[in-house]
Symmetry: C2
């Protein structure tokens, strides 16, 4: 059987079946933005994540500078720590470098990593540079979070409101290689509000909202008309002849935070975040009973939201 | 300027210059087998390492099974933890998979990782599977060590004896894909003896012994006639028409432990390790004053030991 027959999802299932382990110090293993480990600093959890970027899969050297690749490679990992409510701390960098790249390109890549590391106070502790046919960067990042401030994907409750930071879509035009992971926002939120769940938007609002719902064993209604559309979503929509909402729902790589809170917190949260951090927070959905499934409410109509029905859904909007 | 002009060593220097950071909780950053972090479990250090294996660089799919790749990818990281005197604990696995591989090959890879994880009580906490033209596996591993038991590369002292476990060389015939990292030996040593330095043999005895000497700012004499030669070093020597010692000094991928102790500990250490663990420990050199440099004593002759003079040195023996 070929990988294309079981797909990424099937592969993750195999990975889990074979490799998942039981360890009393592992609070969360496979299945959230980071792993969560206890038994180290008092009243804290260690957060541990690793993400790889591969040339021609995650970026194309024609559209992105070496500096930007370095920034992005570390930023995607920092965004995962932010999604748990945590603070990024220590990173290791494995790089596979094609022989033909120049020393100055390589230094630009390191400079990009350095700029992001400094901005987020991440210490680079080393790594491994090996030769490879195609460029890849795999970064592992340790972070920490106070136990009371940990936010996972799996505790959204019926009645909770789904909120998102920033505006979404059209990231291929710029944002996917120049985003800033929302660590300050995440820290502000976990210190001042009780979030029931959180995830960072890497695969797109539709897909990532459904991940929260699946992990939390609840249903979900997305309010399509309320989704904050980025100017790039609108710009791109003119070229693609799709609705800007399609781009906001499915493009991915927004690296904004998507989270749930009880309805009573919503107004205060939106106001305070606007005042203190100048960040827009928008209600984009509601957690409902599991039996209602995953739905999109837009233009006075309910449509079934397909978590993996990416293209299928696009053609219906 | 091309990478080939500055080489791996030049690249590591650039990496250090640009990326090394100062952080009071970082005991060791770049430059040992693992990074060492304090501020977590009381009286302990966290050990943090990441190593990548790349198809056609570190292994060739014609000579190694998928199960063996999985075992090796985790084992090289466990060996780094052992080199610090530590215990491996938690791992994340990033895999770049070519589209054309089959599900059963992929499952075998996972099974290999699992077998090694179980043997060394390592918990796999997740990771990332992405598509790539060439197979790569990048594993990040967290471990821990009691503060008093940490062993680094940089504290070998003049007069210390250099000891090695097992027998060396000819690893290309078998051992490079079927070795067992020496965690039990490492733990026994750090609990019962005061080691002044330690490293795992990945690049070869000559190169790794010089790394200890450089980091410790001392000189070194290797006793060529005393180096324990593996049967595969002898077997390979017949094919290559080189001396078996050359294979023992330069082949690399032995994943044995190389360490230094004061002379008074040597006899007791060798006897006890033989009795308790049935492992052969052999004195293979002596730490001398820095101004004596790095030398090989063999056949009543001193030769200069070139840490990077791999091929050059081979042709002279």
């Amino acid at each position: 059987m070929k990988l294309s027959q079981i797909g990424e999802f099937g592969l993750i299932e195999e990975f889990k079946n074979i490799l998942q382990t039981k360890d009393k110090n592992v609070v969360i293993g496979i299945g959230d933005d980071t792993a969560v480990i206890k038994g180290y600093r008092k009243n804290h959890y260690l957060l541990f994540t690793e993400d790889a970027l591969v040339q021609n899969i995650h970026f194309n050297l024609k559209n992105i500078s070496w500096l930007q690749i370095g920034k992005k490679a570390l930023s995607v990992n920092i965004s995962d720590i932010a999604a748990m409510g945590g603070i990024p701390k220590f990173a290791l960098i494995s790089i596979g470098l094609p022989q033909k790249i120049s020393v100055s390109q390589c230094k630009n890549l390191y400079q990009g990593i350095k700029k992001t590391a400094d901005k987020y106070k991440v210490s680079i502790l080393g790594g491994d540079t090996v030769s490879a046919k195609e460029l890849f960067i795999s970064i592992s990042l340790l972070g920490e979070v106070e136990r009371k401030n940990l936010v996972t994907r799996n505790k959204a409750k019926e009645g909770d409101i789904l909120l998102v930071s920033g505006s979404l879509g059209g990231t291929i035009l710029k944002k996917h290689y120049s985003f800033s992971p929302q660590v300050d926002l995440s820290r502000y939120l976990v210190k001042h509000f009780k979030l029931s769940s959180m995830i960072d938007l890497s695969d797109g609002l539709a897909s990532d909202a459904v991940k929260i719902a699946q992990k939390s064993q609840v249903g979900l209604i997305l309010f399509g008309d309320d989704v904050p559309l980025s100017s790039d979503a609108k710009k791109l929509a003119k070229k693609t002849s799709k609705a800007p909402l399609c781009h906001a729902l499915f493009d991915g790589e927004d690296y904004e935070l998507l989270f749930t809170v009880p309805p009573r917190s919503v107004t205060k949260l939106i106001q305070q975040v606007k005042e203190k951090l100048k960040i827009l927070i928008t209600p984009v959905g509601k957690i409902v009973n599991k039996k209602e499934g995953y739905q999109l409410y837009s233009n006075h109509k309910y449509t079934k939201l397909h978590p993996k029905g990416f293209d299928h859904f696009l053609s219906n909007t």
